[in-house]
Symmetry: C2
Subunit: 395 residues, 2 copies
């Protein structure tokens, strides 16, 4: 039996293990230190009450023969697909129900969608980036080229005509940089994909943080995108579903390649290798898209954005360059005095007892940068911001 | 951009659509007909009360900051992996926690596990079989050969030394035939795989129906299996989780190919492309493995097995050959008088108002056979059995 040879090209990632080790070592030497974590990429607020209520009601349904739910449609129940369609309709985007596939989260679909494409394609991935894009393509043996995201382009690379790719990843608002494309910028990517018969895989996991009117929350706000783009989204950040697991992938009916419908191919993939998101979770997700659910989730998002704003204000005052913090819970700051990511990590931990994430962990262009997030507790974030301010003034 | 060319070799499956159309047409002509469905492959009893209680308690936890759960380990929480290890320990099988990967069900893992293997492998699949095995391999472009399951071998094919395969699928107790391998028979497959350096993918989704002492519920009851087999299991039938979604895959630490650990490869696959089973569902699954949970689930399984026994008794009396019905909810009967599967389907619908599943839908060797199941309501099953008895006496 022959193994998939591509796994040998994967590099082990030790980013969060390395962080944990350094923090543990520091704590051992300084047991009294009150360490605040601003590196967290996970939500911390509990599920909104309308969502919890939906979970409990659906759980009770599962315990009675009359309301029990066995196998459901692999693509998701109509009640949820309609809720998602309504969420898009509120922004002027019309989706047919069969264009929406409910999933257990963006991470699965970002990897699994690649099964529709030949390994013999070139993939364009921004650098720095969420590491799963790279690893999923390495596992299939695809050629990867990188779109350099830098301070010069505001960590928002635009199409380079000398580079030809078949599959283009875009994450906006971006993880880890917090940068978000305007509609005019996204239109350049849609034009590029159309011209080159490429497909865009648009990761919209952070769309709920967008408040700038010129920043699209969906790539389908751009004309022509329904002919070249798949959109992958998640309730992880929208509604705090990181441990509840629900997302959705949109494959438009108008998306074709070589005369074949990608919607039909994805439907075939999901009906063969997926077996629906749990009924109770789909009920909880549907509660998110009600007026009460959206209001409750919006409140949580404002909480995180306010945290990001508190950190951003300190950086503004200290004239430290950063992206993000406006349409994103992430702040991507330049390390002061030309420090590299890990030097700044160690110094920030030692001098301010703050833990963040070294940008170098997200790609070569991440070195010299550092990610802070608004996902923490508000009081702790205020305290951390005060420490950060004092620390920066010493440099 | 180039699509995966293998999707064009997939055949569309219309089995359940065809059944629905024929039943609808019959009902239109005979609106008063009281049709009983014995073709159902889904559970019908509600979740057991200890499981519902766990779902509700975990849902409440998700609504409070102190007990909220965000991202968990991709491999599953220790509390559930320990519960599964305990379930195996009760049968004398020792599993390390890191050998157990919690999933959202067997269907996903049966497809996804193939990513560890090169497309350049030959796969051996029984015929008839659960169609997802075939489709998942066609999507990757693997060469498939079939192990003929027939009345002569009791629908339990054994290794053929003239056939060499790299990946061997075994489903025991089998869907759709209900046939289950004895330990001595499974040992032949383990020996065959060991000799040929093949891997066995053992689908144990129906293990909970086993009552014969010589029929293993896990392939790891066979010596040497931990060096050649992956076991994929599900709570769908064990605990009625078809709509709740939880399963697990066991990749032993002792399973190597070309010096590489399959356990480490699967761990890398799951951490890259999967993001854990929902916390609330893992809590529900853990409740299954408590003494109260197991007792409640066992009661439901006995209910379904009793239904299968009621159908089997009628076939015994009418001297109709069948497999299954003992260690399985499925009864796989030979169609009387040399009828093909669809002829018998139509006649049974017309004369007895019973809907079953034509065996031809599961592979070439399924033609001339018919699947009935014990998943229905007990009273309805008794009524259907009486009708079946009367109908068979007219042939």
């Amino acid at each position: 039996m022959k193994l998939n040879p591509n796994y040998s090209s994967l590099k082990s990632s030790y980013l969060f293990i390395d962080i944990a080790h350094r923090v543990a070592a520091y704590k051992e030497k300084n047991p009294a230190a009150d360490i605040i974590r601003l590196g967290i990429g996970d939500v911390t607020l509990p599920l909104a009450q309308p969502v919890v209520k939906a979970l409990q009601e659906a759980s009770a349904e599962m315990g009675e023969a009359e309301t029990f739910h066995g196998y459901g449609p692999e693509q998701g129940y109509p009640f949820l697909r309609q809720g998602i369609a309504g969420y898009y309709a509120a922004r002027g985007i019309t989706l047919a129900q069969e264009e929406i596939f409910v999933s257990d989260g963006a991470k699965s679909d970002i990897g699994n969608i690649l099964e529709l494409f030949s390994p013999d394609n070139t993939v364009l991935i921004p650098d720095p980036v969420y590491p799963a894009y790279v690893d999923a393509n390495l596992m299939d043996g695809r050629k990867i080229i990188y779109a350099p995201a830098t301070k010069q382009n505001g960590f928002l690379p635009l199409p380079d005509n000398s580079v030809k790719a078949d599959i283009i990843y875009i994450c906006s608002p971006n993880n880890p940089t917090g940068a978000a494309y305007t509609k005019a910028q996204l239109a350049q990517w849609v034009n590029c994909a159309t011209k080159n018969e490429a497909v865009i895989l648009f990761d919209a996991a952070y769309e709920c943080f967008v408040s700038s009117p010129d920043v699209p929350r969906s790539i389908y706000e751009v004309e022509g995108a329904k002919e070249c783009a798949v959109e992958i989204c998640s309730l992880s950040k929208t509604a705090g579903f990181t441990g509840t697991r629900c997302g959705y992938t949109i494959v438009p009916n108008t998306l074709f390649a070589n005369g074949q419908s990608l919607n039909k191919m994805w439907n075939r993939r999901q009906t063969t290798k997926y077996n629906e998101t749990p009924y109770i979770v789909q009920r909880a997700a549907a509660a998110v898209f009600t007026p009460e659910g959206l209001a409750a989730c919006h409140k949580n998002i404002e909480y995180y954005k306010n945290n990001a704003g508190v950190i951003g204000k300190v950086l503004d005052q200290a004239s430290v360059w950063y992206s993000g913090g406006i349409n994103s819970p992430y702040i991507w700051m330049e390390c002061p005095n030309g420090m590299d990511s890990w030097q700044f990590f160690d110094l920030l931990l030692e001098k301010a007892n703050i833990v963040g994430t070294p940008g170098a962990g997200f790609g070569n262009n991440g070195n010299g940068y550092f990610r802070l997030t608004g996902f923490g507790n508000a009081e702790k974030t205020v305290e951390a911001a005060a420490r950060l301010k004092a620390f920066l003034s010493t440099l």
